[in-house]
């Protein structure tokens, strides 16, 4: 599966590098090839022109010195011109005559051009083919010899092409080699990335240790660091999840174990009272398991929220009054404790989710009812302080042991004296709801005795 992805060239860094660098290199080679080809062709033309001029001057000199041996010369030249040289030496044809146009001597295939023409290079047509001609007149008076040499342009071109081709050949030969070299360089250059990929690919899903950054190339470092940060966060999340699962299992197992053993006690007991007691305990245990489950689900729903989906304006004082009306005064749950309300008359406005805040406040109230002694007074309050708005519950009970205080909001943490009635999740839920509302949870023992737990919204204009 991973290999399939790696084979698709379009997204592979290696193939992209190879393609771009390869195309650039080939393009460079091609341009240089075209340029040197043109240059070589031009140079070959010049050389052949030079050759023409040299031959013409030589012939002129020969004729001027040895007019008497013209016939002899003609014979020799015929044999020389017939000997074919290399491809770079296209056959040279010539005519020798006088200024008046009379022809003294000519090579076998020389074009039949008038000798009276003006001296210099020209192109003429002969037998339907273009020829490059050079006409040269004797400079020393009274001699009026004229020499005309020419080459077939077709042959000249062929020679020029041959020369230019030879010049380009090394470039052409080098390009495949260059491509191969490029391929290996790119592969070698990307090897650290491949090793990194292999390291990541070969990992088991549980292995979230940071990737080694020591040997990684500089360019990959930011990516690696970001990855390691992500891995670290993932590890934290996973650890939390594991701890939470283990704790949740423990918290559910205990009441379930109680249900089971009480049921067995009820089965085995011969005493009616014992049996009745065991059945009552079964009910209590299943209530407890239900409560743990409900709180777990509530927390599970709250946990993934990045923020509140919708925020309304909420009056904390009204909220406290509402909760107090619902479950404060005259509550049947805990007749031995008195619940009071202390809410400001002026509205205390925050933005948030009223349902969630009510759950938080109810959890705080439940805790107070559960962990205070009978006869205690519990106060539900919503107040404006100099520096903050607060919503919470205070009691005049024994308070919380100092070493337990910072750990109370931990999931499933119960203080040393707790008798395991609660789910251990109440304050964790309050904490989460506070986070979602940009508030913080304050837990403190009061100097005068008692304990207060509240959500506090710092006031922006407070010193």
């Amino acid at each position: 599966m991973a290999n399939e992805r790696r084979e698709t060239g379009l997204h592979s860094l290696r193939w992209r590098l190879l393609a771009t660098v390869g195309v650039a290199a080939l393009l460079g080679l091609a341009i240089s090839g075209v340029l040197s080809y043109g240059q070589a062709q031009h140079e070959a033309e010049e050389m052949m022109d030079g050759h023409l001029a040299q031959s013409a001057r030589l012939l002129l000199a020969l004729v001027s010195d040895n007019e008497a041996h013209l016939a002899e010369l003609a014979k020799r030249l015929a044999t020389v011109s017939n000997e074919h040289g290399s491809a770079y030496e296209p056959p040279l044809e010539f005519q020798i005559g006088r200024a008046d146009g009379s022809l003294l001597l000519r090579s076998a295939h020389a074009p039949d051009a008038p000798l009276s023409g003006t001296p210099g290079y020209s192109v003429i047509e002969h037998d339907g083919l273009p020829w490059r001609m050079l006409t040269l007149a004797a400079s020393a008076e009274p001699s009026d010899y004229r020499v005309q040499v020419g080459q077939s342009i077709a042959l000249r071109d062929r020679a020029a092409l041959e020369v230019a081709g030879q010049a380009v050949l090394p470039t052409a030969l080098i390009s495949p080699l260059l491509l191969v070299l490029l391929y290996f360089s790119v592969r070698r250059g990307l090897k650290p990335l491949d090793e990194l990929a292999a390291d990541v690919a070969s990992r088991s899903p549980e292995n979230l240790r940071p990737l080694a950054t020591v040997d990684a190339p500089l360019e990959a470092q930011p990516l690696l660091l970001a990855l390691n940060r992500l891995l670290g966060r993932l590890q934290d999340t996973l650890d939390n999840e594991r701890r939470f699962t283990a704790d949740a299992a423990h918290e559910l197992r205990t009441p379930l174990a109680a249900v089971r053993i009480q049921a067995q006690v009820a089965q085995l007991s011969r005493d009616a009272d014992d049996r009745q007691h065991a059945l009552t305990q079964i009910l209590a245990s299943s209530d407890r398991a239900t409560r743990v489950l409900e709180q777990l689900l509530r927390l599970a729903r709250l946990d993934p929220l990045g923020g509140l989906p919708s925020r309304q304006e909420i009056d904390l004082a009204a909220l406290a009054r509402q909760l107090f009306a619902e479950c404060g005064e005259g509550t049947g749950a805990s007749p031995a404790r008195r619940v009071r309300l202390q809410a400001d008359d002026s509205p205390l406005l925050v933005r948030g989710d009223a349902e969630l805040l009510k759950i938080a406040l109810r959890n705080l109230l439940d805790n107070a009812l559960r962990y205070t002694l009978p006869g205690s007074t519990i106060t539900v309050f919503a107040c404006r302080h100099a520096d903050a708005l607060s919503l919470g519950v205070a009691d005049d009970g024994p308070g919380v042991a100092g070493e337990d205080l910072p750990r109370l909001v931990e999931r499933f943490y119960r203080g040393g004296d707790a008798r395991g009635e609660g789910s251990g999740l109440g304050l964790a839920i309050v904490q989460r709801i506070a986070e979602l509302h940009d508030a913080h949870v304050q837990l403190e023992n009061l100097a005068a005795g008692g304990f207060t737990a509240s959500l506090r919204w710092p006031l922006a204009d407070a010193g």
């Binding site: 299992a249 423990h250 197992r253 205990t254 009441p255 379930l256 174990a257 109680a258 249900v259 089971r260 053993i261 009480q262 067995q264 006690v265 085995l268 007991s269 014992d274 007691h277 065991a278 305990q281 209590a284 245990s285 407890r288 119960r414 203080g415 040393g416 004296d417 707790a418 008798r419 395991g420 009635e421």
Partner: protein
């Protein structure tokens, strides 16, 4: 026989105590590690059922201290921690047995019987003396093959005497073994139970050592 139960959960602890009482154990129940430590120092138990996650002092710490004192008390760990690592730590920490929650009451009872039997140094589950046979698993007592009906206290007293057949048991030792905290004993309850046992098992089955206590009579 007296057992110390260390369990912080109110509902579960109540259930275990009731279940152990059904097996005629006297059960002392403490809720945290510190109380467990004190109870173990002060009293002579036949076994301890120990939870691990305890307030104030972890169960393993309690166990370490107990073993550090050289105590041979049979300890059964009863916990929700169910990974191998936890079990290994518990058993290597000095526990004799390890049971995870939720568990079966009869199994807990059987394991305790086995632990107590082993601590006595015996492999056979039944106790026998002068034709009287006691099977702790079924709690049945026979005399020369005939079943004998005993009350829970009489059974516990017989078990105590059988387990200490080579020693003289004082009245306070017997009371300590038979009764848990809060179960007040009358001034002559032990004598009443002794009397009843003699009536059911034969007048010379138990002998009184004047000024010291009671002991099973020599066989034959």
């Amino acid at each position: 026989m007296r057992i110390l139960l260390v369990e912080d959960d109110a509902l579960l602890g109540d259930g275990i105590r009731a279940g152990l009482k059904l097996a005629d154990y006297a059960v002392d129940w403490v809720h945290d590690g510190d109380a467990a430590r004190l109870a173990l120092l002060d009293h002579d138990y036949q076994a301890c059922v120990l939870d691990l996650g305890l307030p104030r002092r972890d169960g393993l710490a309690v166990l370490r201290e107990l073993r550090g004192r050289g105590s041979q008390l049979p300890v059964l760990i009863l916990t929700a921690r169910d990974t191998s690592a936890d079990k290994i730590a518990g058993l290597d920490g000095g526990a004799d047995d390890y049971l995870t929650k939720p568990f079966d009451l009869p199994e807990l009872q059987a394991r305790l019987r086995a632990l107590i039997r082993r601590a006595r140094g015996a492999a056979t589950p039944t106790l026998a003396h002068a034709g009287v046979l006691l099977d702790p698993a079924s709690k049945r007592v026979t005399r020369n093959g005939q079943p004998i009906a005993l009350s829970a206290r009489e059974y516990a007293l017989l078990l105590d005497l059988l387990r200490h057949r080579n020693h003289i048991r004082s009245r306070s030792q017997i009371e300590e073994s038979l009764y848990a905290w809060g179960e007040e004993t009358g001034s002559n309850t032990v004598e009443v139970h002794i009397h009843n046992l003699r009536r059911k098992l034969g007048a010379d089955f138990i002998r009184t050592v004047r000024g010291m206590g009671y002991q099973l009579s020599d066989e034959g």
